[in-house]
Symmetry: C2
Subunit: 228 residues, 2 copies
Amino acid sequence: MSVKHSTQHKILDAAQTLFAETGFTDTSLRQITSMAEVNLASVNYHFGSKKELIQAVLQRYLVVLMPRLDQEFTRLLAVQQPNSLSQVLSVFVKPLLELNKVHQNGARIFLQLLGRGYTDVQGHLRWFFNHNYGRVLDKLVLLVQQACPDLPPSELFWRLHFSLGTVVFTMASNEALAEIAEADFNEKVDIEGVILRLLPYLSAAIAAPVATVTPLSYTAPKMASEGI
Amino acid sequence: MSVKHSTQHKILDAAQTLFAETGFTDTSLRQITSMAEVNLASVNYHFGSKKELIQAVLQRYLVVLMPRLDQEFTRLLAVQQPNSLSQVLSVFVKPLLELNKVHQNGARIFLQLLGRGYTDVQGHLRWFFNHNYGRVLDKLVLLVQQACPDLPPSELFWRLHFSLGTVVFTMASNEALAEIAEADFNEKVDIEGVILRLLPYLSAAIAAPVATVTPLSYTAPKMASEGI
DNA sequence: GCGTGTTTGAAATGTACGTTTGAATTTAAA
DNA sequence: TTTAAATTCAAACGTACATTTCAAACACGC
């Protein structure tokens, strides 16, 4: 962190904060440039458009995170015996927390932005992400498949997306949740705390036994009666 | 479904579809009234404002769903021995699927809207929801607490929100996921299929053993060792 | 110190939004 | 049929937005 920040830097810093808090659509360039104390036109001068600013904000973290993840995945794939699921999921922790070196609270901000990117419409973000980093995630799928050999591929597909939802939603509403947690349980929870709480949850979830029941047997196990 | 739809009805139908697809902020009243084939001013005439329209769209489902859930929760709370977690979660299935009687694809649409409500800024929706239906959800918390007596309250809080994220995100990206699933695995998955896949996932997740490890021990387990 | 290319500044452009208005039209009770 | 209320309609209002423009200020190699 240098003492003097360039205009680009100031814009990125203000943009990531506001985007994470308020979402991409609900944050205006006027808010960003006002917080960054730069001229409104400088966003379009330096980044071209709001869309490209959004990608630049994410890219600052992705170029750090994804090669690190790729490296971890490759390392795990190289070992002889398959890794356990919790081993696989654990490799996310350090690379994510190292985003705090990119910027203060970088890990939290990045995950919030990721959540916004998936829930806001922003179709260009999905494309941008899959196009640039799709092959890294293929390795993750392979690792989970090795860790849970009994899981049919389609079930694994769904569970990985369920898990993505867990993470992304949690981070998108992270502020609100942390506030409630502190008010109700007197426990201060930072991003690291949330990640560590997520690991056992996701490990158990992804490795859950596959239901063999038919839809009908799931309707109210208690009283029995009445179909859907 | 009557052959003639009132203006209110047409507005609600168009609004729920567009809100679910595009989110609340990114859907304009002009899009809604255009799809509903009614005059722009009729939204403010019938509902007062966009904010109140959003609440009316959700309310149409909540007034059906929440009393049903409340009734199921009360029934489960009345039994002598505590219910299993999967019994508790199963009671969601029928009430949710009955939303399909409120409107075609009602269950999917409602869950998508719920997701939008949590991730969009829309502070008024959180308030609206907690204020009207908070005590119903208190019963759910109690039931889960009985089913998982070893789970500390704060851990339960987080896991319930993780689970909410799983459901809400899955429904928000339901269309895309169902398309991929059909293309990659040749399996047609409807809302019921997704819900039934969610149950074992969530049961295992919520009941997962609480991690007793310290943060540091989670940094790259390296090789074998360590359980979940 | 000068002159060129880069960056910033204030202002304006055009578009889209939620909301309001008041007259026209439809509805339904008397 | 009359009449008053409820509803629909086209148009406009004021605001906020992303983006553009172009002159001023700046940086810095010569």
